[in-house]
């Protein structure tokens, strides 16, 4: 009977989503699902703030399914990238995001697509949440012409609208992000910039230079430190005299929160965004999170931490499991439903991987293009004086 209901509702859901009446239809066929629930979330540690984000978060069934789907997509996409890298189909640098999904998804739900975001090189998750497709991301990793940067950027250099990468130089993205925020303030468009960096980058001088100017000029910038406890192979205790990253902004108010809980991240981001949009200037968030993979594909990730530690986080704090448990125990979704999402996600990833491995590499005459924007075609010297290559904007 249950199975029948599932099939019927899927058909109805499929047709209903075209006219946007999905929730209502579902409620009629899924009389037993809770449309929304309120969850207690952990209190944030506060720095130079009187009040913090709320201690409860409301999650609707629809939101929950969407967060689940997106996090699962990131998870499976990163695992697929791991596979392809080991098959040598992806080369060079590949920094995987699995474990940190709640950060990317939670942040995006706290801002709008019209806001801006910039991060460092562990960027595949953000490329997705900011509007990229799994296909274009994977094809970029495999260096094909269908890649989001036509195969010219690779893992660390992916861009979409209002997403400024993907940046390879540790810390350099932070001043860039403040510059984007300056543009938002200058243009008066009420947009903000989310500017991410890791616990390793948090010690960079240019970040402190940026804190200073962002604060002086009251730039609408949310600085977010994704603290996954290790800067490459160096644990936070070995790298930072103060590991209270949320306080390192000194005169900038800060929050420290559980980066494995998507609702925590969402509420904190909403709080921070409101702070910026009200003209109070920058704010800093530290998300305590964890990466399951090593720093990059060339790092097994077990020389500086124990397998037990990784296993413990996986079993006790996995962001996707946490959301799944919440939804199931509050009757907001069924096991079959979530399994079905898993199947759909798996298929999407398989299709994308198929595309990424069969799409041709960029044509050789694209080699010298995109040097300058809005410029007439020019000649570029090849490897020898007789080779003159063409470059167009």
């Amino acid at each position: 009977m249950r199975k029948m209901l599932t099939i019927i509702s899927n058909v109805l859901r499929g047709s209903a989503s075209r006219n946007g009446a999905r929730v209502v239809v579902s409620a009629r066929t899924y009389a037993d699902f809770t449309p929304q629930a309120t969850f207690d979330i952990k209190k944030c540690d506060l720095h130079k703030l009187e009040e913090g984000p709320p201690l409860q978060a409301v999650l609707t069934r629809e939101e929950g399914l969407q967060y689940y789907r997106t996090m699962q997509t990131i998870r499976r996409m990163e695992l697929k990238a791991d596979q392809l890298y080991k098959q040598k189909i992806i080369r060079g640098f590949c920094h995987l995001y699995d474990g940190q999904e709640a950060c990317a998804v939670g942040i995006e739900t706290g801002i709008n697509l019209s806001d801006h975001l910039i991060t460092a090189y562990r960027a595949h998750g953000y490329t997705l949440t900011r509007g990229g497709t799994v296909r274009e991301i994977m094809a970029e990793l495999t260096g094909r012409r269908g890649g989001i940067a036509k195969g010219k950027g690779g893992s660390m250099h992916m861009y979409t609208k209002h997403f400024y990468g993907g940046n390879g130089i540790v810390g350099a993205q932070v001043p860039l992000g403040a510059g984007v925020a300056l543009a938002c303030k200058y243009l008066g468009n009420n947009e903000i910039c989310v500017c991410l960096y890791g616990d390793g980058a948090a010690n960079q001088g240019q970040i402190f230079e940026t804190y200073n100017m962002a604060s002086l000029w009251k730039l609408p910038c949310i600085f977010i430190c994704e603290n996954n406890k290790y800067g490459m192979g160096t644990s936070v205790e070995r790298a930072a005299a103060s590991t209270d990253y949320y306080k390192r902004g000194d005169f900038i108010p800060g929050l420290r929160l559980d980066g494995m809980d998507v609702l925590c991240v969402r509420e904190a981001t909403k709080f921070a965004a409101e702070h910026c949009r009200s003209g109070k200037g920058p704010i800093l968030m530290e998300l305590q999170t964890y990466r399951y993979h090593g720093h990059s594909m060339s790092d097994p990730g077990v020389s500086y931490r124990t397998r037990e530690e990784i296993q413990e986080v996986r079993s006790k704090s996995d962001p996707i499991s946490m959301l799944k448990d919440r939804m199931l125990s509050n009757n907001m979704a069924s096991v079959e439903e979530l399994k079905e999402i898993d199947v759909e996600v798996r298929k999407e990833i398989e299709d994308a991987a198929q595309f990424a491995t069969t799409d041709p590499e960029p044509p050789l005459d694209d080699l010298c293009n995109h040097i300058f924007y809005n410029d007439p075609p020019m000649e570029v010297r090849g490897t020898n004086p007789w080779t003159k290559l063409k470059s167009v904007s």
Binding site: H116, I118, A149, K150, G151, K152, G153, H157, Y159, T160, Y164, G165, N167, G168, I169, A172, V174, P175, L176, G177, A178, G179, V180, A181, L182, A183, C184, Y186, L187, C193, G205, Q206, E209, T210, N212, M213, L216, W217, D366, N369, H370, I371, F372, Y373, N374, D375, M378, V380, P385, S393
Partner: protein, 348 residues
């Protein structure tokens, strides 16, 4: 003779031909003012550019006219504010980032190269970076080693950048306006010793839409015997040397590069095919320098077969810049060095 002059002046007055003498500093100031007025997205940031009127007074009067939003004083944090400028350019503004001197740009060079120059390519055309980095470059007077380096070769090395090095007031104005209107990162190398030098500025150059194309050299003096190629302040020395040599019957063709990257190799080749002799003159160090690149291109190109003697470079001495005047004077090319090199090349 005098009456002829008076008649000429009267004719000029009647026909409204007005020549103005404008210093390089004022020409730059005009260019900044005009471009700030023309496009609201243009803004200037750097140390002392606003309330101090500019460390070298290039931005004099602009803060008073445009205010805090468009003319921004920064703290002494080059890496930070250069990065902020690049980010602002990525998000749709058109910043002019001033380095008090290009020596300080070394602190920020990662932002210039990795964040600005390479981004349009890495993003395969998704993310342009319309930014100008400007400031004085090269040797000044008595400022010693850490404040006297020429960065033309360093920035000229990198694809994705345009590198401009004006000489005259017209160069300064026309090229800065073009740089600001260019949708790509432009490194604009000024020269402190040239700021106060007045040049004739034609009527055409006085217009608000006067632009000079980036990437095109200018022949400042025609000649048949030897080609002198130079940029920035050294153009003055070449012209002075040419004047002295002319008295001995040697006619130098002096080329003002105007742009370091993209290099106008064609202009140089055409000239060398006429004169058969080439000397490059620069203030920077010899190794891996601007002159070295020009000579390599001549070797690889059609002009090689027209050379009657090896092409040579006149450069700064390969040492950090000393302080004492006699030492400093002998660390950079002098007019006599150019004359000596011409005579050696021509074997006279």
């Amino acid at each position: 003779m005098n009456t002829l002059l008076i008649v000429l002046l009267i004719i000029m007055e009647i026909s409204q031909i007005h020549f103005l003498y404008v210093t390089v500093r004022d020409a730059l100031n005009q260019a900044l003012d005009e471009e700030l007025e023309r496009d609201e997205r243009v803004f200037l940031l750097g140390e002392e550019v606003a309330q101090y009127d500019g460390a070298y007074k290039v931005s004099r009067g602009l803060w008073k006219k445009y205010g805090d939003k468009r003319i921004i004083d920064t703290p002494i944090t080059e890496m930070g504010f250069a990065g902020i400028a690049v980010g602002a350019a990525m998000a749709g503004l058109r910043p002019i980032c001033e380095f008090m001197t290009f020596n300080f740009s070394m602190q920020a060079i990662d932002q210039v190269i990795n964040s600005a120059a390479k981004t349009y390519y890495m993003s395969a055309g998704l993310q342009p970076v319309p930014i100008v980095f400007r400031g004085p470059n090269g040797a000044s007077a008595g400022v010693a080693a850490q404040h006297s380096q020429c960065f033309a070769a360093w920035y000229g090395h990198c694809p994705g950048l345009k590198v401009v090095s004006p000489w005259s007031a017209e160069d300064a104005k026309g090229l800065l306006k073009s740089a600001i209107r260019d949708d790509n990162p432009v490194v604009f190398l000024e020269n402190e010793l040239m700021y106060g030098v007045p040049f004739e500025m034609s009527e055409e150059a006085q217009s608000k839409d006067f632009l000079l194309p980036i990437g095109k050299a200018k022949i400042e003096r025609q000649g048949n015997h030897v080609t002198l190629v130079s940029h920035s302040r050294m153009v003055s020395l070449c012209l002075d040397a040419a004047a002295v040599l002319a008295k001995e019957g040697i006619e130098c063709e002096v080329i003002n590069m105007r742009t370091i990257r993209p290099l106008d190799a064609e202009a140089i080749e055409t000239s060398v095919m006429k004169t058969n002799h080439l000397i490059t003159v620069e203030g920077g160090w010899p190794q891996f320098g601007v002159g070295a690149e020009i000579l390599a291109r001549i070797m690889e190109g059609p002009a090689f077969n027209f050379l009657d003697a090896p092409a040579v470079r006149v450069t700064g001495v390969d040492i950090p810049m000393p302080y004492a005047k006699i030492l400093e004077d002998n660390s950079i090319p002098q007019i006599k060095d150019i004359i000596f090199s011409v005579k050696k090349t021509l074997n006279v």
